[in-house]
Symmetry: C2
Subunit: 232 residues, 2 copies
């Protein structure tokens, strides 16, 4: 697994640096590198919230020092037509493509984000190995730097949600069998039976029930059956 | 295609509303709905940047009005262990899974984001059809609301980057043929030839050259050949 660091190249606003620290930590990363940042004050600290450690441990480097310590440099650039027409910023990859490209890479990978007002210079982009661009609307393509970092971090995080179990084949079959008995109980017409059962399988198949939901469905059917059997 | 709207339920800070408007527009969406928001002032306007139209056109609704006008309600919730253990917030889907679930759905889809400090209430979640959770680090799972909206909007946007062409099979074959001739020119040993050609195909195959890059490679080879032929 590569060790990913997020590099902010000459950020202008401390608030963005604080927000950046927060999303970096939200997605399980730890390293923030700052190239010539403004003074870090109360606003950055407030916006970093519980990621003040990321902010305080941020490494201060020059661009050349980043190049020196990094195994792979990724330049992130906005999707501006005036810049992508040049060979220097081509070809470019989306964050999800980047995720695939980093699979199996070892060492330090630096994902570099440019200045809020004009991004990275051609000189800086030239020194990078891969160009990454977040696909945005042509109506308003310029994303706030902390939101851009959030999206790249989200894609690179490889986080899986805590897993919850789905009902097993056996549990589902038992539910369908219960449905079938229930259809008997309500004198569902024979000629419709097969199609109705198929429809129930379609509905409950695509909804991917949890075991608890299966139990609840059985409960509802049983409760209905009891009322049918004990009706006045 | 569903018409997606982003609903902020009782947001506390106008700054977050401004940032939300901006990311909504960044990913090509237009509709923001505000349930009982704070006063919108200079900070929201500043942070919305060129998405002031989204901010100004935001619809003010009650939760029940959202339910009434919407075809599908998606509750977004933080991945807190105390909440996900309840059946009400299960099963939950990631933003990329949500994207798949909305494929082919028509009508208005409301993606609802809760308060900055305690999210959505159980009463509110109960009224929703689908639960969506952004996978985050257990170390610091609480994402700023505007960053959460950004990530969901990014996933739901279905935006494709402007396409650029890759070199065709014929262009690549012509390059490999040029490499092969070049190996002749530098007396590359016969017994190594096949492996070297395979390696060149591997390298340039996986790097997916653009036509312009192929042209440049030919140019470099030709320039080298000229120097080999005209050496003093």
């Amino acid at each position: 697994m590569p060790e990913i660091e997020f590099v902010l190249c000459e950020p202008l606003y401390e608030g963005n640096i604080g927000f950046a620290a927060r999303v970096i930590k939200n997605f399980g990363f730890e390293r923030m590198v700052l190239i010539n940042p403004p003074e870090i004050g109360d606003e950055a600290i407030a916006r970093s919230s519980h990621a003040r450690d990321i902010l305080e441990n941020a490494e201060r480097c020059t661009f050349d020092e980043v190049i020196e310590h990094s195994n792979l440099l990724v330049a992130t650039t906005g999707e501006l037509s005036k810049t992508i027409s040049t060979a220097m910023r081509m070809p470019y990859y989306s964050p999800s493509e980047l995720r695939g490209m980093l699979d199996g890479i070892d060492g330090r990978v630096s994902v570099i984000f440019g200045r809020e007002n004009w991004g990275l210079s051609n000189e800086e982009v030239k020194k990078c190995d891969i160009i990454c661009t977040i696909p945005t609307s042509p109506v308003y393509p310029i994303i706030n730097i902390s939101h851009a970092i959030g999206i790249v971090a989200y894609e690179l995080a490889h986080l899986t949600r805590r897993e919850y179990p789905h009902a097993t084949r056996t549990e589902m079959d038992s539910l369908y069998s219960h449905f079938n008995d229930f259809l008997d109980r309500i004198d569902h017409q024979d000629f419709k039976r097969e199609n109705t059962m198929i429809m129930l399988r379609r509905i409950f198949g695509r909804t991917r029930l949890t075991p608890r939901e299966v139990t609840t469905m059985h409960g509802l059917l049983r409760r209905t059956e009891w009322h049918l059997n004990n009706k006045k």
